[in-house]
C-alpha cells in the first residue's frame, strides 16, 4: 500500500475525505494533536470538542441517521467511559458510528492509571462484538482505515480504529518526569 512519504495523520485525513467522513467531535489526546490540527485546518471537516466521549457518540449517531458521516476521536481512557452507550445506541440500533482511539497505557506508558484502563479496552470491544482494528504500521494504515470505514457503512455497524504507539510513536516517557 502506498503511503508516499505521508505521515499517519495525513493518511487518516486523506482516507476520511475519500469516504466523506466530515463530522469530527472529540475529546483531545496528546498523540492525536497533529491529526486534530490537520482536521481543523481543512474546511472539509466540521471538528469540535465535546465535554464527554458519550456525547460525541450521540452526536455522530444522530448525524449518521440524518445522512452525514462522522468519527469520534478519543484516547483509551475515553473509550473506557463508553460501554453503556455503545451497547444501547450504535450496537442496538446498528448505526455506523466510527471511533478512532489513541492507544495509551502500553509500550512505554508512564502513567499507571492509563496502563490500568488500557486492559479494559479489548475485552470491552470483544464483549460488544464490535468490529475493530489496531493500526500498527504506516504501510498498512491507509488500507486498514479505509476498509474499516467502508465496511462499517456497508454493514451498518459501529467500528473502532485503535492507533498503536507502534504507528504514532505514542506519548514518550519523559526522563525528568518521575511520577504523574
Amino acid at each position: 500500500m502506498e503511503s508516499a512519504g505521508r505521515a499517519w495523520h495525513q493518511i487518516v485525513i486523506d482516507v476520511l475525505k475519500a469516504n466523506e467522513v466530515r463530522l469530527i467531535p472529540y475529546v483531545p489526546d496528546n498523540v492525536l494533536k497533529p491529526l486534530i490540527a490537520g482536521i481543523h485546518a481543512d474546511p472539509f471537516f466540521e471538528a469540535f470538542t465535546v465535554a464527554r466521549e458519550e456525547e460525541a457518540v450521540g452526536i455522530v449517531a444522530g448525524a449518521v441517521m440524518a445522512g452525514r458521516r462522522g468519527m469520534v476521536l478519543m484516547q483509551t481512557s475515553g473509550f473506557a467511559t463508553l460501554a453503556n452507550v455503545l451497547a444501547s445506541l450504535p450496537c442496538a440500533y446498528q448505526i455506523p458510528v466510527l471511533m478512532m482511539v489513541s492507544e495509551r497505557g502500553t509500550l512505554g506508558e508512564f502513567n499507571i492509571g492509563q496502563a490500568a484502563v488500557w486492559r479494559t479496552m479489548r475485552p470491552t470491544l470483544e464483549s460488544l462484538a464490535m468490529p475493530y482494528h489496531v493500526v500498527t504500521r504506516l504501510d498498512e494504515c491507509e488500507f486498514v482505515v479505509d476498509r474499516t470505514i467502508r465496511q462499517a457503512h456497508l454493514t451498518q455497524q459501529p467500528a473502532a480504529l485503535i492507533l498503536s504507539p507502534l504507528l504514532t510513536g505514542g506519548k514518550s516517557v519523559t526522563p525528568k518526569v518521575v511520577a504523574q
Binding site: E54, V57, G62, A63, V64, M65, A66, A92, Y93, Q94
Partner: protein, 206 residues
C-alpha cells in the same frame, strides 16, 4: 404592569402527554423529534408515530446530543430534543456544546418532573434547587426559560418554529405517568427515522 417572570417555582406543573401532543400538532414541516430514555419517548410514541421521530431506548442522557447531530447534518430541518430532567443531569456538558456550536435549528425541551419516574419515582439530586433553565443560560443559551402554562408553551414552540435557535424550554411536570410504551425494536426505529430524514431510500415499503 410589569410582566411576571416565569421561574422554576411559579411555572405550572403540566401533563407530559398533553404537552407532547401540543408540540406534535404544531409540526407541519417534517421536523425531527428525538425522544429521550423512558417516558419522554413513550409519550412521543403515544402522540402518534411520525417517520421523523426517533425513540431512544438505552443511552441515558443522549437525546440532546443525538438531536444535535441531526441538526448539524440537516441545517434546514428544525429538530426538537425531548429530554427528562434526570437524563439531562447525567449529560449537562452537552448544553455547553450546543451553545458553542449554536445550531439555529435546534430546540431543547426539558421534561422536569423532579424524579426518575420510570425507575420508581426516586427524587433526582437536583432537589437542592438546581434550575435547568438557569444552568442552560449559564452554559451560553441566554434565552433559556420555563414555560408558564400550556398556552405559554404553545407560544414558545411557535417561536422556536419561526425563529433561529438554539432554543431551550423548561417544562415543569405533574406526576402522571406515560400513556403507553414504545415498541422496542431499535433497528426498525433507526430504519424508519433514516427514511423520515431522507437519508435512506429503498424500494422496501414502510
Amino acid at each position: 404592569m410589569a410582566e411576571i417572570l416565569t421561574t422554576a417555582h411559579n411555572a405550572k406543573r403540566m401533563y407530559r402527554f398533553d404537552l407532547t401532543q401540543r408540540l406534535v400538532a404544531r409540526l407541519t414541516k417534517n421536523e425531527a423529534v428525538v425522544g429521550g430514555i423512558g417516558h419522554t419517548n413513550f409519550d412521543l410514541w403515544s402522540a402518534g408515530h411520525r417517520a421523523q421521530n426517533f425513540y431512544m431506548l438505552g443511552s441515558m442522557g443522549l437525546a440532546i446530543p443525538i438531536a444535535l447531530g441531526v441538526a448539524l447534518a440537516q441545517p434546514d430541518r428544525k429538530v426538537f430534543a425531548l429530554e427528562g430532567d434526570g437524563s439531562l443531569l447525567m449529560q449537562l456538558g452537552c448544553l455547553a456544546t450546543v451553545a458553542t456550536l449554536a445550531p439555529k435549528n435546534l430546540t431543547i425541551l426539558v421534561m422536569d418532573n423532579g424524579v426518575y419516574q420510570i425507575t420508581g419515582g426516586q427524587g433526582t439530586p437536583a432537589a437542592g434547587g438546581a434550575d435547568y433553565a438557569a444552568i442552560a443560560r449559564g452554559c451560553g443559551l441566554p434565552n433559556a426559560g420555563w414555560a408558564a402554562d400550556e398556552a405559554d408553551f404553545e407560544r414558545l414552540v411557535q417561536q422556536c418554529l419561526e425563529t433561529d435557535g438554539p432554543h431551550f424550554i423548561g417544562l415543569k411536570l405533574d406526576d402522571q405517568g406515560p400513556v403507553t410504551q414504545t415498541e422496542r425494536d431499535p433497528v426498525q426505529i433507526r430504519d424508519r427515522f433514516m427514511r423520515g430524514m431522507g437519508a435512506k431510500k429503498s424500494k422496501l415499503p414502510g
